[in-house]
Amino acid sequence: MQTLRNWEKSGKLHAERSKGGQRFYDLQGLKTFALDLKILGLAWATSALPPELPSEYYCERPDRFTSRVAKMGGELQKAGNVSEDLASLLTLVVGEIGDNSFAHNVGNWSDVPGVFFGYNIAKRVIVLADRGRGVKKTLQYVRPNLTTDVEALNVAFTEIVSGRSPEKRGNGLKVVRRVAESNEIGLLFRSGIGLVTIPLHPGLMRIRMADGNIRGTYAVIQF
């Protein structure tokens, strides 16, 4: 009970008050708070057979993803402890990463289409994942000499190049990197055995090998 009070005190969890002044918690709110989105998203991205997801975390098509991102943006604005600028930039980061999943996998999903998209504003975490082809395979269409996932992630986050060339594309992840590097936004992004990290407090991106493989992409955004 003290833990719940501490979470309420720090603004992580909202408690209602009865007429007598006693705290009570909405059951759905508690369940959502207790859920570890990072583990759920990672399980969805990595398991051989995709686990069934609660509908609130699964966006099969881009229109559902777009409407959920807009809803998240509105909730960030109303959260009280997130500035307007941060709400704007977080929505940009999520919109670009999730939209990439759709744009680069349309017609090529290996099994289940769409993205995992979960967020918990109280815990200041947002998770995205897809079971698509991954960054290296996408970029190899325009850069056939790319051989490693680390190399592919470096290209994706630093060069203006698109896996859908000759379409004029390829700006999104560059902006995501700059936004995360210069604001209170942390990013973990995995694809294949490549891992991108940008610290929560403004700092530079690092790319290295991860200790496991993700066929598509998996991203954790913290703020």
């Binding site: 881009p62 777009t66 991102v69 807009a70 943006g73 509105g74 604005q77 307007e84 600028d85 941060l86 709400a87 704007s88 930039l89 929505t91 940009l92 919109g95 670009e96 999730g98 939209d99 759709f102 744009a103 203006i160 004029k168 594309r169 700006n171 999104g172 560059k174 902006v175 700059r178 936004v179």
Partner: protein
């Protein structure tokens, strides 16, 4: 001068297909011979993908006579420098003019 209030397309504008759709929706209301200004007021977020696609279509349509109104929108200010990089087209010229005005 014609003004496009992006708010009419929503407060969160993401994805290239949506940027193209927004242009197609408004195209018939635009005079290609007259300059156009874009107003970001009351928009929470515009992603670089949406903005790139919308500006590319719009500037191709009217020969580059597009101006971006000054804004403090954080997502727009983050996206603009990248949109002007490594290209020499109407979009880059439009963005460079806007950045010069806002920074000057």
């Amino acid at each position: 001068m014609q003004t496009i209030n992006l708010k009419k397309f929503g407060t969160v504008l993401i994805s290239r297909p949506a940027g193209l759709e927004a242009f197609n929706a408004i195209r018939s209301q635009l005079n290609p011979d007259a300059p156009i200004q874009i107003d970001f007021d009351q928009v929470l977020t515009v992603t670089p993908s949406w903005l790139d696609e919308f500006l590319t279509q719009l500037t191709d349509y009217n020969g580059g006579k597009v101006e971006l109104m000054p804004t403090k929108n954080a997502s727009v200010l983050a996206a603009l420098p990248v949109l002007a990089e490594a290209r020499q087209d109407f979009v880059a010229a439009t963005v460079r003019r806007a950045l010069e005005r806002m920074q000057g």
